[in-house]
Symmetry: C2
DNA sequence: CGAAGTGATGGGACTTGGTCTCATCAACCG
DNA sequence: CGGTTGATGAGACCAAGTCCCATCACTTCG
């Protein structure tokens, strides 16, 4: 076998994601057992854990892809640009993953996550991972440590704000994120000194 | 009983914290069972979970106190001050909790957390909680949403940087944090525009 | 001084997340 | 047709976390 898609029953992973989202929506995250998710997807607990490392992960798939895009977005920004411009490149780079289907499921997913501490932890961790990765990519370009940390963190703020707006209004995520980052930049620039 | 301290064997909570830190240090977090922590503290699993809501929490105690201090620090900053000045007030307010004993255990605690994903998740969540709380306290003072988010997030960056330095050099945390926040502010102000 | 009450603890049953190992079964390959 | 591979099923097993109830030290009140 080599065609990369000729599975058995296709889409086991997708079926698990859909089943999980439905069940979390219907009964809540904590009242849903992994075995139940697997059952609804026509699979078993064993198979679930072969596709996802834990119960939470079914809601946070595709992180690796985003990390890769973020790094490429920063590394691929032409050189005389500043740190924030590179961060903008990162946000634009991940826009390709913001599909219409993802936007449709976005609110449901957000609601499930917001309602549960475990899931909010995982979400915080995911965002922290994005920040760390961007920070490292910035340092790779010669950006000083502290500037990299600040730029990456502001990028995360813009990502959150942009994501919320994109869920509301739709359209091209790249544009929405660009605007959000510009607003964040202005807000940061105009902060009064602590002295 | 009313003196607030006349327990049975005193310091059950402290004993659990110490036992946990020792065991995590010796064998690693994942190789240590809660029952084992309790045993070394001369207690049982039941009692452990009466003091801490889960296995991680033994490393993250005192968060409620910090949250309270952060809020008071922001709310208590005299009014004509800007958002970042209020954040500085928050960082200064929590300085009272940075004792010499805490500094002694800090590196060990950091090492344990850094070595484990679960613990890094909890840490990320804790920081996100600090950020949210500061953001809300800022909005309470009339700071616009986005400015509050940016100021709070920069405060978190300064908190991390300041904490690392304080572990190294010691001294008054308030001073260290103040300097870190000022550096962060300058870094944020000097970021080149994304356009 | 003894009885009832209170708060922290011990003990153990129970559910579920997560790991591990082994058997199975469909597809592919020679 | 027989062997290999890769995904799955099945079930044992451990530890985290919840619950419920008994216990024991200490206090308070009669």
């Amino acid at each position: 076998m080599m065609c990369g898609m000729g599975r058995w029953e296709p889409d086991a992973r997708d079926r698990l994601v859909r089943a999980a989202l439905d069940l979390f929506d219907e009964q809540g995250y904590e009242n849903t057992a992994v075995a139940q998710i697997a059952e609804r997807a026509g699979l078993t607990k064993s198979t679930y854990f072969r596709h996802f490392k834990d119960k939470r992960e079914v809601l946070f798939g595709g992180q690796d892809e985003l990390v890769e895009l973020l790094v490429k977005g920063i590394a691929g920004t032409p050189e005389p640009a500043g740190a924030l411009k590179a961060v903008e490149g990162a946000l634009v780079a991940i826009a390709v993953t913001f599909s219409e289907e993802r936007r449709a499921n976005g609110p449901r997913r957000l609601a499930v996550i917001a309602a549960n501490d475990e899931l909010r932890e995982r979400d915080a961790m995911k965002m922290a991972g994005f920040s760390t990765v961007m920070q490292e990519a910035l340092r790779q370009r010669g950006v000083p440590e502290l500037d990299a940390a600040v730029a990456a963190e502001l990028g995360i703020v813009a990502l959150r704000v942009g994501y919320d707006r994109w869920l509301e209004v739709g359209g091209d995520f790249a544009e929405v994120a660009r605007r959000a980052l510009e607003e964040v930049r202005l807000a940061a620039r105009d902060l009064e000194g602590a002295e």
